[in-house]
């Protein structure tokens, strides 16, 4: 499938800021399921600094914007050809060993509710099967409902609440997988909202679980499936903060207001 992406992130400040620095992970991953046809990333009025591919295989670009400024606009536009690999991250080059993704972080801490959920899944020697069951269990335990959780909600909080968004599903699945000693990580990306006629969050997130013998496999517990050709993978990390496509800081006293506009559509065949 060919997906067109248009993604504009606008930071508005209510007072002039001295400047801004950003670290962007806004580039489609290089693996067998994705081929970039066209991709442009720009920070309006900004200066691109260093660019590199990190140990997890993500491309990172540093940007800075000189002040005084009251607005920072990050524009992404491009076209990606995707293939359905049933969630497999085949052909992805990375140097961080899977075992390094077994450490818990604040939002993925294995609180008792998560341990209970992970242990409630019937054990299976087939790790892929086990991972699927974990994803199903998380999807069933947390009902999709926007607006009840926020950026700093932990997996345990969302699970206790029984409601949340894709970030909460991903954090909970990561925490449960790690309880069972399966390396797991957070993935940020896009999901085409129109290709199946059902509205999704176009700026999306899911989890990857490392299955010995297969490698990293994506699981979208929020949608009860594995990422297919409707998905575009951008970056990974231990949790949402680490995998954030944009990490930035603006210097000054202004209060920030964030606006995001994302459109991911299948190109007409």
């Amino acid at each position: 499938m060919i997906l067109n992406v248009s993604h504009t992130t606008t930071y508005n400040y209510d007072a002039p800021m001295r400047g801004a620095v950003q670290s962007l992970r806004l580039f489609p991953s290089r693996f067998d399921g994705q081929k970039v046809l066209d991709w442009r990333v720009e920070v309006e009025g900004g200066l691109c600094g260093g660019s590199f591919r990190d140990g997890a295989g993500d491309r990172v670009e540093g940007w800075s914007v000189r002040g005084p400024l009251t607005q920072v606009v990050v524009r992404v536009a491009g076209q990606v050809e995707t293939a359905d690999l049933a969630g497999l991250l085949r052909g992805h080059r990375e140097q961080v060993p899977p075992m390094a993704y077994l450490c818990e972080t604040l939002p993925t801490r294995a609180e008792p509710v998560l341990v209970d959920l992970a242990r409630s899944v019937p054990v299976s020697a087939d790790l892929l099967d086990l991972a699927h069951r974990l994803a199903d269990a998380v999807g069933a335990a947390i009902v999709y409902r926007p607006g009840v959780t926020h950026a700093h909600t932990t997996a345990a909080e969302a699970l206790t609440l029984g409601e949340g968004v894709c970030q909460d599903h991903a954090h909970a699945l990561i925490a449960c997988a790690r309880v069972l000693d399966l390396p797991a990580r957070y993935v940020s990306g896009y999901l085409s909202a129109t290709s199946d006629g059902i509205a999704h969050e176009a700026a999306h997130a899911w989890a990857e679980i490392h299955v010995a013998g297969l490698g990293w496999v994506g699981f979208d517990a929020a949608n009860g499936c594995c990422p297919d050709d409707r998905y575009i993978r951008l970056a990974s990390g231990q949790d949402a903060r680490e995998a954030a496509p944009i990490r930035g800081i603006a210097q000054g006293i202004g209060v920030e207001r964030l606006d995001v506009a994302v459109a991911v559509d299948a190109a007409q065949q």
Partner: protein, 471 residues
């Protein structure tokens, strides 16, 4: 329990060769003269402003570190062996870091358990797959050594991040030379004052490839409230480089810049004295105000060198320590010159069983601890202390290692009653850049309390000038 301690000055009633002249020196020294000199030394330290901070005890945290005027002496041949051993260790530790952030050959070869490395708190995913200039991660390696006999030296721990204390090595010498110039005429002592220049050259030698011309080196300090701030400013002064805080630096266009009165100046090498977690709020702790936003992106794309490299801490962890002799064999194909202290990993069931049964004979430390805090010295603890510690150990065994109580050597030390043996250790500072260098000397720490084996300044330790005699 009568333990025999090796006295570095007297052996079987006779004076050992390196101390022969010091014997005459002390014998000819009247008590009043010594007291006067001691007061003079203290005044000098106060004037220079060398203090260190002790937290958690109340009162003014800034203390004067006690200085003992009785030098600690090594012969040239003793030193040559130490030098070989320390350099060997510094090379192996750097090879290990380059390996574990690269292909991890030592783990594939089954010589070090993968979990110990990749699940280590100090393992930095942000460093994986990056090769710093010249492949060097730890540019200043502080190796803590103790001695138990004429030829028996043990490494207690390695410090690969930002070992402190080198300012004392330099100051102790300076003060001894001012107070006792005659001693330095009578003894041929190797100089240590070349250290700042050697450090500057070492740092300049790891400038990124993008740096054209003479590299600009800076020292990045967390600020004046840090316990080692004195050392940061002292070294910057002696090296002739700028001492900066995070707010003095910014990133733009793939480089790091320093704000100066003449406009921004590009920085090529940052000798940072702040922890990884605070380096860059975009990469590590988002709330950190001490670092430079965007620094890691510039570093990873080759615009600046950070010394020591982020992630270096995985090599000096107390659990990894056990494997350093294995690293030396694996990477260098050599046998270790310096021995490790036998170490029990409390995370292992068999080891824990032994440790729990022998707490009263062992020294138990936290894996990530430092400064002598949170440790148990079994033979010098009360049974209540041991029981309290046992509970903490059993609650989190993986967090502890144990070692036998070593019979640390003593050197003569000035005390109220005159001269008495006190236990000492040694930290030499090995520099790794284009070359591996070691100035002939180091920091000798002395446990001033009679019988004490804990030399940390936060636990009542003092310092001494350390001599290496020329041939």
């Amino acid at each position: 329990m009568a333990t025999e301690y090796f006295n570095e000055m007297y052996e079987a009633g006779a004076v050992r060769a390196p101390y022969a002249r010091l014997e005459d020196w002390t014998r000819a020294m009247p008590a009043e003269f010594r007291q006067m000199k001691q007061a003079e030394a203290e005044a000098l330290f106060r004037r220079i402003g060398i203090t260190f901070a002790v937290y958690g005890e109340g009162g003014d945290p800034d203390r004067l570190i006690p200085f003992d005027m009785f030098p600690r002496v090594f012969t040239q041949s003793e030193w040559r062996r130490l030098e070989r051993g320390v350099k060997q260790r510094a090379r192996a530790l750097n090879a290990f870091l380059l390996d574990v952030y690269g292909r991890g050959e030592i783990i594939r070869a089954g010589r070090i358990p993968a979990r110990l490395v990749y699940q280590n708190e100090a393992y930095e995913r942000a460093a994986a797959g990056f090769i710093p200039p010249r492949g060097v991660y730890s540019h200043i390696v502080g190796v803590d050594l103790v001695r138990t006999g004429p030829d028996d030296f043990f490494v207690l721990e390695d410090n690969c991040r930002t070992p402190s204390g080198v300012s004392y090595m330099l100051e102790n010498r300076e003060i001894m030379m001012r107070m006792f110039p005659a001693l330095f005429r009578e003894n041929r002592i190797e100089p240590v004052d070349g250290y700042p220049d050697l450090l500057r050259r070492t740092l300049a030698s790891v400038a990124p490839a993008k740096c054209g011309g003479e590299p600009t080196v800076v020292i990045l300090t967390p600020g004046h409230f840090n316990s080692a701030y004195y050392e940061h400013s002292f070294l910057a002064d002696l090296m002739g480089v700028e001492l900066v805080e995070g707010a003095d630096l910014f990133v733009e266009g793939g480089f790091v810049w320093m704000r100066t009165t003449e406009g921004p100046k590009r920085v090529d090498v940052i000798y940072r004295r702040i922890d990884d977690a605070f380096l860059d709020p975009l990469c590590f702790r988002p709330e950190s105000m001490l670092g430079v936003p965007g620094l890691m992106d510039v570093y990873r794309s080759g615009g600046v060198t950070i010394c020591s490299a982020p992630g270096s801490g995985v090599a000096d962890d107390k659990a990894i320590y056990t494997y350093v002799p294995e690293m030396i064999r694996f990477y260098l194909g050599e046998e270790p010159v310096l021995q490790n202290v036998p170490t029990w990993q409390c995370g292992r069931t068999d080891d824990l069983k032994y440790v729990v049964e022998n707490l009263c004979d062992l020294v138990v430390k936290e894996v990530h601890g430092s400064g002598g805090y949170g440790m148990l010295v079994g033979p010098r603890s009360t049974s209540e202390q041991i029981e309290g510690f046992r509970a903490r150990l059993l609650a989190d065994p993986g967090n502890y290692i144990a070692q036998p109580t070593l019979a640390l050597s003593t050197t003569p030390t000035f005390v109220n009653e005159g001269i008495a043996p006190r236990h000492v250790d040694l930290r030499p500072y090995c520099l790794v850049g284009e070359r591996v260098e070691l100035v002939p000397g180091g920091l000798t720490r002395v446990a001033l309390t009679e019988g004490s084996l804990v030399v940390n300044s936060s636990q009542g330790g003092g310092v001494k000038d350390t001599w290496v005699l020329a041939e």
